[in-house]
Every structure is written in C-alpha cells, then in structure tokens.
C-alpha cells in the first residue's frame, strides 16, 4: 500500500483534499493511505510516507524536503496549483502515483 503524505501550513485547507483523494483512490481501486500534516509535524511523520506532496502555500519547503527525502528514496513535489485550488483529488492522486513510478 502506497502511503501519501500531504504537507501544508496549518492542516486546514488540505484536509478536504485528503478526503477527495481518498474518494478518487477508492473509485479507481487504488490502494492508498493518505494523510495530511502541518510543517512542524513533518519530522515525526517522515517514516510513515512513501511519497510526499507539498501544498502550494509551503512550496518554499521543497528544496529542503528534496534534500532530506531523496537519499531515502522518497519522491516529493509541489501539488499543481490548479489541482489544489479546485480540489481535484483524482489529479493529485495521479501526480502521487506518477512520482513513485519515476523513482522505481
């Protein structure tokens, strides 16, 4: 099962996206565990993730995250702005899956 961790600044706007992603994953029969954490909680949760997606508001964290996660083989990216704004769960799920395929 693939574990997707979403990072945002306070956890409020991202929780809706998590729900939509779970719906999309279920509808397409994809086995995903999706959860959202705030910036401060990343360190404690990093071992529970196979792929990390950043909300656009915290996109400035990307370089730091990439440095920490690349050696561990965990891909990371910023969620596409439009998909985030329009809460396109299926598109973000797709982005997560594509990231993991590229690293295998």
């Amino acid at each position: 099962m693939l574990r997707v961790m979403l990072v945002c600044s306070a956890g409020m706007s991202t929780s809706l996206l998590v729900t939509k992603m779970k719906d999309a994953a279920m509808k397409n029969g994809i086995d995903l565990e999706i959860f959202a954490v705030s910036e401060v909680e990343v360190k404690d949760n990093i071992d529970q993730a196979d792929v990390v997606l950043l909300a656009p508001q915290v996109r400035f964290l990307f370089n730091k995250m990439k440095q920490e996660l690349e050696p561990k083989g965990i891909p990371t990216a910023v969620i596409d702005g439009m998909n985030y704004g329009l809460m396109r769960g299926d598109a973000v799920v797709k982005q997560a899956l594509e990231l993991t395929v590229n690293t295998k």
Partner: protein
C-alpha cells in the same frame, strides 16, 4: 516583473511562510479557533437581546438568559482563551496539553489582582478577564506553557512506579514544571505590587495593548492590514491564517467591547472589528474574490478557462472560501490581477469605515462565522441593521466594478496566441519548487 516575482519567491515567501507556521503564533491562532463556540454563543446572546427580545415585548423578561450567556462567554473571554492557547502550544510540542492549559489559567489568576476598590479583598474584577486583559493573558499563557514544556522535556519530573494509573502518573509528572511556572508568576506579581504598579495587567494594557488597539482603529492601519493580507495571498501564502493572531488580538477585543457596550445599553465605539472585515471587505474571501467571479462571468462571453474556473469556484465563493480562485485561476502570482487585488481591500475598507464613522451604518458587534454569505453577514454583524446588509452589498458591487476591466484584460490575454503572462504565473507557482 518576472524578475521581481522571482526575487520575492526566493526571499519574501519563505520568511513569510515561516511566520505563518511559527509555533507560538499558531498556538494563539488555534487558541482563538477553539473558543469560537463561546464567542458565537455570546454573539447570539447579545444579538437576541438587541433584536428579537427588544422587538417582542413579551420576551423582555427573558433577557436575563442572554445576559447570563454573555457573562459566561464574552465577559470572560481572556480567561478561557488562556487555557486554549496554553493547551495548543503544549500540544505542538507533544507535551501534556491538558496540564499546560490548566497551569496557564492558574498562572493568569496568580497575577490578577485579588481585591477591587471598595469591595476589598477576595473580588476579581471582570475587566481583567474580558478582552481588555487579552494581551496579558496571551503573554502569560505562552510564557507559563514554555516554562512547563521546557522543564517537562528536561525530564525534571516526579516519576511514579508503573502500576500507578496513567492519569495519576501524568499529573505527578507535571508537578515540578507546573510549580515552577506558577511560582514564577507568583514572584512577578509580588514584585509588581511592591513597586507600586497595580498589576501586570496595568503595565501590559497601558504600555502595549491600549496604544496598539487605539492605533489599529485608525483608518490608515485598517486599510494597511486589509492590503497586507492580500499582498501575502498574492504570493501564495495564506494571508488570513498568518495574520489571524494579530487580527484576533486587536479586533476581537474591539468586537467584545462593542458587544458589552450594547449589552449594557450604551453606544459602541469601535469602528473596526473582525466582523467589520468579514462582512464588508472579505466578500467571498480575502480580496473579495466572489466579486471577481461575477466580474469574470460578466466580462467573458466566450467559453474559456477563466469562466470554467470561476464556475467551479462559485459554490465555495458564496461561503467566502477563496482557495479555488486563488490557486485555480490563479490569482496567485498573476500580474494582471495584482493591481485590483491590492486596490479592492483598501477601497472597500475605506468605504465601510466612512459609512460606519459617519453613523450611516451601525458599529458591528456580533461575531459571525466567516463563511456567512454577503449581505446576510453585514445584516447580522451590525445586529440586524438593514444598512449593514446594504453596505456589504454596496461594497460587493464596488468590488465587481473594480475587477471588471482587469477580468476583461486577463481574458483577452488568455485568448491570445502568446499567452506569456498568464502562463508565467501558473508556471512560477508550480516551478518555484
């Protein structure tokens, strides 16, 4: 322009973003969110007493019920928020949050005067517990919790054997850190009373809170705040969240003072409150994005992307949720919309301020949920005044007018073959990774 955006992305955004997730500011913000049920209950109470219960004489005998609810909520706002701030701060450290909250409250009372005027000893004046005591409460909660957390983390605790129930074990662990925090404030209170100042509250209120709140009621600062919120949003930072601690610390007390004045039958005096912004400026969310949605509908005739995004964002926009527009259009890093996005909050604030200051529209004194749609928000926030509802609709119309030319411009550019600016904004948002 592109260079400017790049420089901002590199230097301004990370700093501002860090401020937004800064632990203590987040704790203050979450502290206020936690007491929302109380604030809303108190608002309903004051609202009822000034509308329904006033218009229907038969209900007049029940005003005491609302008075009681107001007393338990608005009147002791600082007392309760001290708990929730301490709780949330400790929670962010993964340290016993319940203990931290309780110790914060106790520390706050520790530095609160124990006597009042002619009543003598043993009477706490409610003025220390309501919004005027807010800055003192926040400072005490943060310091008390910090001490508590630091000592807990250093394991300066009393350890109980394993067969003791966990709740008891946890309570004993909190003893030494808790006592340290409490005694610190006991000492602080003692020093203050012995140097002649009445209390910690007096120092903080007179030196910091009163001047700041006076300053914040000015037209200039009200406009600057509204504009700043949008500047942060333009760079993709949640302006609302980042400024929440400041807005709540300055403008919630203003609201409470108004509510308490109305409750006691005197005139409210604070023009700018949190509800002021929510009803008259943030129409559809920060930047009056609902107005932009309407402007797009009016300005774009052909089937195009902007119209699609506006359509998808409309349901959320009615309830003042603007993320779909911010990230979806996008408004973020979109140079064409920068000018109206900065102009709109300033102008709306100005109009609402003048309207309220001149007495055309009553002062806002009711806290409304920020998702309340335009028109209804203005009506409720001013305690059921039609003028209030009208002002928010007027501001809505003004915002649409300001956005119209820019919506048309953006639409024209998006339909042109070299859609450089439109694409640039979306690219720079996704690429600044």
């Amino acid at each position: 322009m592109k260079k400017f955006l790049e420089i901002m992305e590199k230097h301004f955004v990370p700093v501002a973003g860090r401020i937004g997730s800064q632990r203590h500011l987040a704790a203050v913000r979450d502290g206020f969110v936690s007491i929302m049920p109380l604030i809303l209950a108190g608002s309903v109470a004051v609202l009822l007493n000034n509308t329904l219960f006033k218009w229907v004489p038969a209900l007049g005998i029940l005003t005491g019920i609302n008075g009681n609810v107001w007393w338990g909520t608005f009147a002791v706002m600082t007392l309760v928020v001290v708990f929730s701030i301490g709780y949330n701060l400790a929670k962010s450290y993964s340290v016993d949050a319940l203990a931290a909250g309780l110790i914060s409250v106790a520390s706050f009372i520790t530095v609160t005067p124990q006597a009042h005027g002619d009543a003598g000893w043993g009477y706490i004046h409610w003025g220390y517990l309501n919004a005027t005591g807010l800055f003192t409460g926040i400072i005490v909660a943060l310091i008390a919790t910090e001490i508590f957390v630091k000592l807990m983390k250093r394991k300066l605790t009393i350890k109980m054997p394993d067969n003791v129930p966990p709740a008891v074990g946890r309570a004993f662990a909190a003893v030494i850190p808790g006592m340290a925090a409490l005694y610190l404030f006991g000492i602080v209170g003692h020093i203050i009373t012995n140097v002649g100042a009445n209390s910690l509250y007096d120092i903080i209120y007179n030196l910091i809170q009163k001047p700041l709140q006076g300053f914040s009621q000015g037209l200039g600062s009200a406009i600057i705040l509204a504009v700043l919120l949008n500047v942060f949003w333009f760079f993709g930072l949640h302006g609302g969240n980042i400024f929440d601690p400041i807005v709540n610390s300055l403008y919630l007390p203003a609201l409470e003072a108004n509510a308490s004045a109305v409750q006691q039958g005197v005139a409210a005096t604070n023009i700018v409150t949190k509800s002021f912004y929510d009803s008259f400026v943030h129409i559809g969310g920060c930047g009056a994005t609902l107005a932009l949605i309407i402007a797009i509908y009016i300005a774009t005739k052909k089937r195009n992307e902007y119209r699609e995004v506006a359509k998808l964002s409309a349901p959320a926009g009615i309830f003042n949720i603007n993320e779909p527009m911010m990230f979806g259009l996008p408004i973020i890093l979109n140079p064409i919309l920068l000018i109206p996005f900065i102009l709109v909050p300033g102008i709306l604030t100005f109009i609402a301020y003048i309207a309220t200051a001149s007495g055309l529209v009553p002062m806002t004194y009711v806290q409304i949920p920020w998702i309340t749609p335009v028109g209804i928000s203005g009506f409720l926030a001013t305690g059921g005044s039609i003028m209030g509802g009208l002002l928010s609709v007027v501001n809505f119309a003004v915002a649409i007018l300001i956005y119209l030319p820019f919506a048309k411009l953006a639409d024209n550019m998006a339909n042109e073959p070299n859609t450089s600016i439109h694409e640039t904004s979306r690219k720079s948002m996704n690429q600044s990774a």
